[in-house]
């Protein structure tokens, strides 16, 4: 009997202790039990998604349920396109959070089709840390924030440093003397072509790539603001503007690259994005307009040693220094309440999208960088959306641990973004792909026919794209 009593006493003590521990843990887990609302989460993994991905999101959901027990999460398989989102936003059925590409935020903001999360960011204490580079893309003219970056890239230039070395374009320390302006790009390309016989610049001008890259050059020639390639007039109609003096000058620059400086790769009109990386990686071209998210393409995928590779900022033009920032962002339904906005920020914090680091995020970063290093891809930091020194330093420390590159070959690229010496721009606001297709045809004409009438070709493209805008948006 005494023995039984002791066992029961022990069991009761264990139960009490475990309840106490659980009670303490629960108290720590719960962040806000008063927050009561429902949020629908777009882009929830479909039933056909890999099990690991589904488990990951179920884990986020469970964590959210612990920390905010009165917030109800409703998974939604919704996947954003501009055409399917607009009627949902107008009808009040859009999911609370969804993921548009960086081509669309400014259009959605201007049409009042997305929700404001500025106050919620302030509540989390991170509003002041939001990088100014992203404010222009994700905020309105009053600085109100309507989105957060999910992942992104900034267009710059990839260099084959070995060809720069062969052409004698290196300084005393062996670092490439890279072009800082578009004019220098033409001149340096010419030197490389003469000295090495290889293309100075690979320019993928097939399909829509030519127009896509051309818009970046055009911005640097002044095709922004009132001279933008497309804009809304006072009546709200979208107007195409390919025949501004700035755009004509940019296209004349394209002509000079081919016919005056002769620095382009031979098959530019059939070269695509992958082909361009291949030509740079295999030493057939010295420079390629490309972004920080594709540094593994010429290196790990095409065999260019990381020590022969550099990433530089987009060269400046006559009218400034602009570069495309692309990728995907998070945006929010136009009818979200403040409580929902706070709950959505809490959800993004769990996803690791706010400037807070926890063990699982750190473990994920370490695994990613280790894999990159193992396959010969440059280990470089991702562009941070946050100017939080402590947070960025902690992330940089993890990068440094796995670093396999000389960061001097990348420093100017990252500095230009963090210091704001380059202006980041999102893609043209409406029907960008069709705009690129029209401009690609002009680029192709200009680089394959020496005497092509640039103004006439641009006017034709302008008429064609204007008809498209009228058909698809102005007179819809």
């Amino acid at each position: 009997m005494g023995k039984l009593f002791r066992v029961i006493s022990l069991l009761l003590t264990m139960c009490m202790l475990s309840g106490l521990i659980a009670g303490f843990a629960g108290a720590e887990d719960v962040i806000d039990a008063d927050l009561t609302c429902t949020i629908t989460l777009g882009n929830w993994p479909a039933d056909t998604a890999p099990d690991a991905e589904k488990a990951l999101f179920e884990g986020y959901k469970a964590t959210m349920a612990k920390q905010y027990p009165n917030v109800t999460l409703v998974p939604d398989y919704y996947s954003y396109t501009l055409s399917n989102y607009v009627p949902m936003a107008k009808g009040g059925t859009a999911p609370s959070i969804f993921q548009p590409p960086f081509t669309d935020p400014q259009l959605l903001i201007s049409q009042h089709l997305v929700g404001d999360v500025t106050d919620a960011l302030e509540q989390f204490g991170v509003l002041e840390q939001f990088s100014p580079s992203y404010v222009e893309m994700l905020a309105d003219e009053n600085g109100r924030i309507f989105g957060l970056p999910r992942d992104g890239y900034v267009l710059g230039m990839h260099l084959n440093v070995a060809l720069f070395r062969e052409a004698g374009l290196v300084d005393d320390e062996g670092l490439p003397l890279y072009p800082k302006t578009l004019q220098e790009l033409a001149e340096y390309g010419q030197i490389i072509k003469e000295k090495t016989g290889k293309a100075g610049l690979v320019f993928p001008a097939s399909e829509t790539y030519g127009g896509w890259l051309f818009t970046n050059i055009a911005w640097n020639f002044g095709c922004v603001g009132e001279s933008a390639l497309e804009y809304q007039d006072e009546d709200g109609r979208w107007v195409c503007n390919f025949t501004s003096p700035e755009c004509i000058a940019a296209m004349e620059y394209m002509r000079d690259l081919r016919w005056k400086y002769d620095i382009l790769n031979a098959d530019a009109t059939t070269t695509d994005w992958a082909g361009a990386h291949s030509l740079l990686g295999t030493g057939e071209a010295a420079m390629n307009f490309a972004a920080d998210d594709s540094v593994d393409q010429p290196t790990a995928n095409k065999g260019l040693p990381v020590e022969d590779f550099a990433l530089i900022p987009f060269p400046a033009g006559e009218a400034g220094r602009y570069a495309l920032a692309g990728g995907t962002c998070y945006m929010f339904a136009p009818n979200i309440t403040n409580d929902q906005a706070v709950a959505l920020m809490a959800y993004l914090k769990i996803l690791g999208k706010l400037p807070f680091l926890d063990d699982s995020i750190i473990a994920g970063m370490r695994a990613d960088y280790a894999a990159k290093r193992d396959r010969g891809a440059p280990v470089i930091p991702a562009i941070s959306a946050w100017n939080d020194e402590e947070y960025n330093a902690a992330k940089q420390a993890i990068v440094n641990e796995f670093s396999n590159v000389d960061m001097r070959l990348y420093a100017d690229f990252f500095d230009s973004i963090s210091e704001g010496t380059i202006t980041l721009k999102s893609e043209e606001p409406v029907f960008a792909q069709q705009l690129y297709r029209e401009l690609t045809a002009v680029v192709q004409r200009v680089i394959t026919k020496e005497g092509a009438d640039i103004e006439k070709a641009l006017r034709k493209a302008e008429e064609s794209f204007q008809e498209y805008l009228d058909d698809e948006i102005n007179d819809y």
Binding site: A266, D267, T269, T440, A441
Partner: protein, 301 residues
Amino acid sequence: MSGRTGIKTHAKLKSNVQSWLIMLPGLILMTFFVWEPLFESIRMSLYKTRNVELVRFIGLDNFVSVVGKDNFLQALQNTFFYTFWSLLIGFVLPILLAMLIGETTRGKSFFRMAVYLPNMLPGLAVIILWSAFFSGEKSGVLNILLAKVGMQPQSYLTHSDWVIPIIIVIATWKGAGATALIYMAGMSSISPELYEAAAIDGASIWKRIIHIMLPAIRKLAGTLLILQIISVFQIMYEPMVLTKGGPDNASLSLMQLMWQYAFGGSMNYGKASAVAVIVTLILLVMTAIYSFFNRKQSDWD
């Protein structure tokens, strides 16, 4: 009397039911995978669309808009050029191949297989293979060969005048062998006695070809001609992979234009359907012309 007729009708019906049952799977497949999309495409071409949804009826506006654009006229002209070059390069070649292989006494099976081999390669692999051959870089195979004889490298696929003939050369390389086999089958049905009689009469090889072989394969050639025109008129993946329709739309085909409207970023299925309907109408007219002349020729015979 009426009882006998009833039995006959019943038997006929029974035999028809069996025939219909045999055809039923094919008819169901045709209905869902050929006729329904065809009619849906015609219907869609008359509507303003949002993705695949029909928004409102707009009559022939899609046709007017599509036909009024420069890229349509360019694509139409290109498609006729494709057909022209295909007939010039690709129509006679299979007949010549069939004749040569037919005249071969040793290794006939080898040559048959050899000419058919390119047809067995996947289409995209063929295009990628030839893109390496016609690459304008110094590493392009043709440029390496030219360098051996002291010539400068050339850009082939960026030259608007060369690009269509080059694509047709590639398509012919892939497809001529299969057509040659059909011609060989046709030629093998010619009675050897005709050749023997002609040989006894002292007819040369050319006279035998002109007076015996060509008349014998005329109808077959006519059928293959119209099939070739229909096939080349729908050319799409070759320019799409090799040149993406460039440079400056110089190799853009009608089918590729249709693809661009539907999937090239604008998702305008109404206009894409309008292009598809136009292509169908052109092919119907061409087939009707061919049938008309073919029937007249048969009447003369």
